[in-house]
Symmetry: C2
Subunit: 404 residues, 2 copies
């Protein structure tokens, strides 16, 4: 498994582009992205579990009913959610893209991200769709990635190379997500492409299996978005024998997928709104996987723990508190906690009680930009990892005045 460049254009037969079309007022911010496969591709997706669902998700679900798609159009600056004409607008976006690309509207995935409850006009998209299609290229992943960003401060792109049936395959993705991040059975916006040949059913199986331990284990602020979605397009151009059933090939494919999704998870959490630090909570020794996941997620979701990490304060009592209310089946008298970073490791709690440690050393460990909170439950063999970020002044600033 080799990391390669190229994002969603790393795999054969994919082109992408991102431009400013005018949905946003700021002309220097791209706001419309397009990703296209040379041929129709197996397609899989998972969606938010929020009862309030963006119109683009409703349409995309309809379009992916046959497990096939060929293009993705996505705008930022407006979520096209809670609008009376939302579905009509989403359909219009699919038709504009399809018309320009000469494909069926039903083969277009539509996504939108931004403010909820403000009508989205098709005019700027109609006006610039030709320019967008012309900009499509094998080097366009970065532009597409920029065009889907909202409060993100960094591009989130990653791709890997691997081998299936003797053929070199690639799989790459782009993601956006910085606030309203607390995916539940689905995730923020992530678009993944691959040239591996895999049936729609196996692709959906691989994706669903993967998100449970990747995107569903991130939290920035506990708010599950209305527009979360991950899609994968697999066009088969790598020429490997199509994966149609479980077996070693599916395993390899899932490893490739997992490598890309974990990397994107870390980038999303580390670029959480206002964040200065990536938090990774690794729980080991849990009774079962559910307990491990519940415990890990509770720690990265705790506002108090997140604020303590911002202040580089080794306040491990807050970690224990979060474990205690998590609902996970655990014995508090067996819990151990260590903080680890590039600056070292410091043990702060053993058997549910504090152990003496150097505050100075702990401060050094917690001043790094990537902090691991290592929790051992001493109660079994299961483990899980969750990703989050610190809670900062800037999170409040960004969200106290998002719309203006």
């Amino acid at each position: 498994m080799k990391i390669v460049s190229g994002g969603v254009c790393a795999a054969k037969g994919f082109r992408a582009a991102g431009i400013h079309c005018g949905i946003r007022h700021n002309r220097s911010k791209k706001d419309l992205a397009l990703i296209v496969s040379e041929k129709r591709a197996s397609a899989a997706a998972v969606y938010t579990t929020n009862l309030v669902k963006g119109a683009p998700l409703v349409l995309t679900k309809e379009h992916l009913a046959d497990g096939m798609a060929q293009a993705v159009i996505c705008n930022s600056g407006n979520a096209n959610t809670c609008n009376a004409n939302g579905l009509e607008i989403a359909r219009g976006m699919a038709e504009l893209a399809a018309g320009e690309l000469g494909i069926a509207p039903e083969d277009v995935v539509v996504a939108s991200t931004g403010v909820i409850g403000q009508p989205l006009s098709l005019d700027p998209i109609r006006e610039k769709i030709g320019e967008l299609a012309e900009a499509l290229s094998g080097q366009g992943s970065g532009d597409a990635c920029e065009a889907i960003m909202t409060t993100d401060t960094r591009r989130k792109e990653v791709a890997v190379e691997f081998t299936l049936g003797g053929k070199v395959c690639r799989l790459g993705g782009i993601a956006k997500g910085s606030g309203m991040i607390h995916p539940n059975m689905a995730t923020m916006l992530v678009f993944i492409t691959t040239d591996a040949a895999i049936s729609p059913a196996m692709l959906q199986k691989a994706l669903r299996g993967d998100v449970a331990s990747t995107f569903n284990m991130i939290s920035v602020d506990g708010d599950t978005s209305t527009n979360d979605m991950v899609t994968v397009l697999a066009n088969g151009l790598a020429g490997n024998p199509e994966i149609r059933a479980e077996g070693p090939d599916l395993e390899v494919f899932m490893q490739a997928l997992n490598t890309v999704t974990v990397a994107l998870c870390r980038r999303i959490a580390g670029d959480g709104e206002g964040a200065t630090k990536l938090l990774e909570c690794a729980v080991t020794g849990a009774k079962d996987e559910k307990a491990a996941k519940t415990a890990a997620k509770s720690v990265v979701c705790s506002n108090l723990t997140k604020a303590a990490m911002f202040g580089a304060d080794a306040n491990w009592g807050r970690v224990l508190c979060a474990l205690g209310y998590s609902g996970a089946d655990l014995d508090v008298h067996k819990v151990g906690v260590r903080f680890r970073s590039a600056a070292g490791t410091v043990e702060v709690c053993r058997d549910g009680a504090g152990v003496p440690f150097s505050e100075e050393e702990a401060k050094k460990v917690l001043t790094e930009s990537e902090i691991e909170i290592l929790v051992s439950l001493g109660d079994g063999d299961a483990s899980a990892t969750a990703w989050g970020c610190d809670l900062t002044y800037d999170y409040v600033k960004i969200n106290g005045d998002y719309r203006t």
Copy 2:
């Protein structure tokens, strides 16, 4: 039902005191409180559901097994939780108080609040217990209230007068709680006293019924504390016929209790760490009470909604988002949202979609210090209210560096 002054000393036969004994370094901050009834009283309590439970709670549960108590001792500055010798220290506190008051240690309620995981020394308590007992008075409620405060900025005291069996009764309480506030089946520290005569079983019933719609409906930061507890002492000195069964008298008593607990809830939420605003989310038209409660609590817990309220931003999409992921059984296409305050009311959403409103007027409404978020689900007759506060820079500041 008349609001009266006096807090926990409003009812006949109760005295209280609060002093600085030295658990805290800051000499101007009281850190030890005592509340005493002239005679043994019916006692009831509810406790945190956090698996990590403070040693004082464990001991108090033991002491209240017979439904009777006579005094409460409570320190701030140290939670006496996750310490190897925690139970021994809590027992020591009960013995010191009992010795000084000439009562049985088993009749003492013990509580502690503050940092988790730092050993608590009995020395300052032993040294000052005499001074504390000497300070006991019928005017001591305010001092006791101050002595249990941590990051609270305001005293939280309230009392009411009511009539039972022709006798004038009083019931009053004090509370502390500002951060780590997200009670679940229990609450932060609240001590309530009454001179009404009521059996331990009926008192426990009244308390358990009440907290489900009061303290359990507050959230400051989503973190359920390890040391939450509400206790009520009822010494019967009002001379009413003892309440021993359900009936009109219990109804009146529960009304009195509810008047005091709702007032304390509003004060706790409004004095949330860093808060500039009290948020009250009133959900009506829900299918059932569970849906109403779940929906209301989800809104006041949403970091994004809380930050928007801090910025006086009428970003109602975040309210819909929070309703959508709450897990409550609701139809998003029927949801209506209004913001209300002393400055007026503004409707922002009807039937799940935005309605035009004046941003200027909305800003005026949301700039007040008490904001109501009125949610109608249009789906039934059930309703519920939850209390919270805005998310501010100061919350982050307070919690980024709590221990130092």
